[in-house]
Amino acid sequence: MAQRPVALTPRWPGALSGALVLVLTLGTLAAVGWRAEWGGGLSPADWSAIRFTVTQAFVSAGLSVIFAIPVARALARRRFFGRKVLITLLGAPFLLPVIVAIFGLLAVFGRSGLINDVLGLLGIPPVSIYGFHGVVLAHVFFNLPLATRLILQGWLSIPAERFRLAATLNAPVGRLLEWPMLRAVVPGVFLVIFLICLTSFAVALTLGGGPRATTVELAIYQALRFDFDLGRAALLACVQFGLCAVAAVVAWRVTGPAAMGAGLDRSVQRWDRASAVVDALAITLAALFLVLPLSMIVLKGLPGLADLPPSIWHAAARSIAVAVVSAALCSVLALALALWGGPVIAVVGVLPLAASGLVVGTGAFLLVYPFINPARLALVVTALVNATLALPFVLRAIAPAVADVQADFGRLGAALGLRGWAWVRIVVLPRVRRPLGFGTGIAAALSMGDLGVIALFAGQSQETLPLAMFRLMGAFRMETAAAAALVLVTLTFVIFWICDKGARRDADL
């Protein structure tokens, strides 16, 4: 018999958190819309930025998915030494600071990178990584692993019995089982990656630029930082929000809530004869594509580590502070929203996905600019915006766990008079600490690597580590940049590891 759900916690923390998220997303959007100069309309350069943004996102998402399918299939049907490590590694680019990954890609595909060295030996002229194909390359680097994990999940969700049945019928597995699965899974994966590529600012900042490779976000940045044309920046921010909102709504309708990578460590036993060569090739190429840039970061970074200037360590300290504050805030917001539950969290938890960091940042800039020099608030605003942008991921990690606690123990708590903070402290926190630790780690890592809002706001004195690294690369101080990259990536994964593992320590539930 279904019974009335018992409310054990007051509503105000959730309402307050929701309000804060609304102010940071819709509030900043309102500021942007209010300041936008609609009269002038969009210039040809703006239209070309829109075209470039959509085209590169479309191509990046398409290539990521196309390459991910053979890799996911190979991972689904093969057991080999290092498979588990490779699957874990597929999760790494999500947490990897974008600027660090780009540094690794430059070391492989850049002007004096590995590929051009090989081409040079063969007498072939060097290829350039800058421009459209560079942006696409970086996006595929980030999203091929994500696509592989999501599609692998689809493959592993086909029940083993179906493969057995197909084998006894001597039926073609591909047409009978795999094609329908792909048709169900791939559109959602494509749209999610399309959305991610629409809002990836740092890639365009480093590898794009110029009239032929400028994204809308890059145009916002340039309008704000170089031309100080607030009206145009605001107008472009409205355009960017429109693009993301449409993509987010479509993606949400097509995908629905997805589970977070559970049970990827099994492979399905099958009876059809598949080509081992094709699988081996797919896995090797994907692994090389991932591992080469990552190893280059370590190789190039180590020599310069000893004589990093103190300014880099100061920037690292600032980054850690921003990440800790942002992760703490994000977890508190997510917990308050999850405890409140209901349809509100579905909306508030998704809204930040449609709001790109640059749009929120522009709005925040417009809001604080009349009162105070934005550079002085750079770190505070960065922490706030990062917390908001990471919220959907943390919420997705903890909301099901919190709902389970309420469903399993809500009545017991109510019968014992456990309410409010006592209920949260004694029951909820201990029971959700694993997903909460994981989510907090994600929020911290994302904030650690952020190069979006901070680029809009920061002056010389509030550099975070990613921004410092970007400026070093701009000044062609590659050795120092390499060492800074190594520091940044190490700190990012250590901070994630501390949150994730710390929460698992003697958690016998």
């Binding site: 018999m1 009545r411 109510a414 008079g417 006592a422 029971r431 958690a507």
Partner: protein
Amino acid sequence: MLTCEKLLLQQDDFALRADLALAKGRMTALIGPSGAGKSTLLAAIAGFFPPAKGRIMWNGRDLTDLPPGDRPSSILFQDNNLFPHLSVAQNVGLALRPRLRLSAQDAARVNAALVDVGLAGLGGRKPGALSGGQQSRAALARVLLADKPVVLLDEPFSALGPGLKMEMLDLVRGKLAGPDRLVIMVTHDPADARHVADDVVLVADGRAAAPVETSALFANPPAVLIDYLGQGPA
């Protein structure tokens, strides 16, 4: 005296009416076919199911709008009666301090309750390290320590084997039942009722009947009970 006054419990096309009084000092069993509303009636008394009409009173005091934690009752559910991440002593201690800040005196009372139910020395363990029977004893220790005048049992022992279940019911009878306490237990097994209950409330056909003394009821069962038992009177 617990009174259900013209009580109507309603959800979708389910409806149960109850107009009855249960005296303290008795163990009362609610029996009847599944889906008849035994557990729903218990949930309403505990405060988890708001009645559509009527009132629930304890010694003349209206409980109908009180939240579960403020009612004079303790309840044991079918499962999830212990928090798995808290030690047995902490679980039992929740009866004294919902905020779990236990004084030395409180800890001594927790220990005494554990000794009382036969769990001496096991307070430091997590529920997962106990057997099913021991988990039931731990939950009973908490009810014992809470010392509320009404105890509600929603088949908390149904997962145990028949022998262990009777042992637990005997423990309830021996430790919890008393002249000032009303114990209400839901059961689908008439043997449970005959074993420990003083009175039986028959819940069937959308109605909870007034309590009848157990021996009298089984000596002269009404038609619904015969249907439920699935055999004619001997």
